[in-house]
Amino acid sequence: MNLGSIIESGLKEIWAHWFRSLLTMFGVILGVASLVTMSAFVKGKENLLKDSLAESGGLERIIVDDNDDLPDYQKHLEDEANGMTLKDVYALQKNAPLVHSVTPVIEKRSYRGSLRVSRKGKRVRYASVKGTWPSLLEIEEHELEHGRLFSDMDDLLANTVCIIGTQIRNDLFGEYDNQGEEIIPIGEKIMINYIPFKIIGMFKQYMSEEDRKKKEEAHAAGQTVARPDFAQVRAAYMSGDRQSGTVMRIYSMKNSTIMIPINTLVSKLDSAYDRGSNMDRSLSKVAMKIYDVSTLEKSLQQVRNVLMQTHKGLEDFEFETQEGFAGDINLSIQNERISGMFIAGICLLVGGIGIVNIMLSSISERVREIGIRKSIGATNMDVFLQILTESIVIAVAGGIAGLIVSPILVNTLASFADNTTPPVMTAFAMAVAFGFSVMTGSLAGLFPAIKAAKLDPIQALRYD
């Protein structure tokens, strides 16, 4: 008996009881659809998290922070520890060849109350002013869309120039003018702590791919989209959805950046500064980028060696790498994948049991038929293959139906959960789900098929 006629007779048998077969298929349909849907959502989340990792500088970014908590044996030297200074930056530039670029950052944030960014009575809710060098642009993956960067001369002369993020523009100027054109406030003045700063450049708007699509669609339709402001992000962060909160925060914080030359910040915005030497001003952090992630350990060691020299052996600094973040991403994706697989696996198991059940009742209805087939020359193998094929055909049909259903399910769920990460369906996940359905069918058909093949032809012929 060739495969074609086996499959043909399997399909006939299923069609003869189409309603029963459909009910049986539901288990497999649900299993396959849930597997594909789960992996689509996890993949979407993974993509977003990886994007945001790259957006915040990638794995090559290292930040050196102050660390007030000295090791025990150095506690008595606490007064000597004066944190990171420009001296460290220069020392690293000269002596750490594994470091690609290094830049100092002094950061002031508005929500602590020490900073006020305003223009004509409008005030920015949240801003982060960073006094730094132009190379921060590269380290923090900023992109300048309009205007220019500040130059070394701006830094040297402590010019009051700034580069702003789009959120600052939105708060102070609005996003679109009356004609619906985007406002580009290059050349305008804003007040930082009552000191006028000239806007010389603006970053591009940072947002996830999905948000960008939404925005473009909305803009085409002539509307503006309310993007999550910082309060919302904080709420999301606090309410436990830590990961998506972190992601939203990365985009939102980048958009709320104001970059000014470091000398400008020190000489114009530092009220308590004695203007002795800029070299002693302690930095908020030193940001750097290494050449290659594979040399991360060595680079860290090199940086540490240099800093131990400049800090007179005091370990009053600590490293902040993105490895933790990357590890968190992988761990959480893995967990979600496992739990999703588990649920889908149970669905397929239930579906498989349904198939076993229906095939057993089907062969007990057809004992006589099996007897007849054997009496006219069907071998045990023919009968075995026939029952097994029917079971696989049910599972495959269920699998295909599940694949057809899954995009609908994904879109429906995505539309219900508006502010979760957009799902991404992959061909690989669909192939895996389909493979599992075929496997379920084969395993489920095995026992009924063996039972049918073992029937004694004489007993089966007498059966009523």
Binding site: M1, N2, S5, K12, E13, A16, R368, E369, G371, I372, R373, K374, S375, I376, G377, A378, T379, N380, M381, D382, P457, I458, L461
Partner: protein, 251 residues
Amino acid sequence: MPFLELRDIHKTYHLGGETIRALDGVSLDIDSGEFISIIGPSGSGKSTLMHILGCLDTPTSGTINLDGMMIHDASPRQLATIRNKKIGFVFQFFNLLPKLTVRQNVELPMIYSGLSGKERRERAMNSLSSVNMEDRSKHRPSQLSGGQQQRAAIARALVNDPRIIFADEPTGNLDSNTGVLILEMFDKLHQEGRTVMLVTHDPEIAAVTPRRIEIRDGKIANETDPKLAGNVPKFAQVTDIKSQKTPDMTS
């Protein structure tokens, strides 16, 4: 050499603690082209004998030589192939598959012998026309009368051109006129040179065959063989036999 040669066949069943001797030392030679009936009351072992001859079952002991092959200890797979190629079955309850059309039913044995769809269709139609059923090929068994169903079953039994045809009470579910037609059909097959074996409890039906073997308690109790007796009942006599009071052939 006989076409079918049985030597000292035993078949025992164990039911509960009891041992049942369904066949108890049966030896039999059947030549090619014979028309035989096996007769006996129910429980006599005639069905068991037919199942063993028809390769549906294997004996507990003894040897069977079918067409030069020793089949008493053949594997289930070999037996299936023999059933498919050398043996045709006709049953009392027709045993057509209700979900298939008549033609598909007749095609079934050829599916298991691996013929192509086109050849299957041709041979099925030929076989159906040999039993005058070609105009019913698209009907389902449930749309046919008993006689038509049995003719379809005969067509199915013939389709792989078997060496021997076993008919187990082939007229048991038919009225007497249709039964006669079916018996005529077996006689015709016999005339064409096939080996045909009827299994029945009814001496009247057995009377149509030249050779009659009576089974009782798992043994051959009586055998009427034209080669020995020379008294060959003709098929035309069947109706006479039916109208008269049949002589008791079992005595």
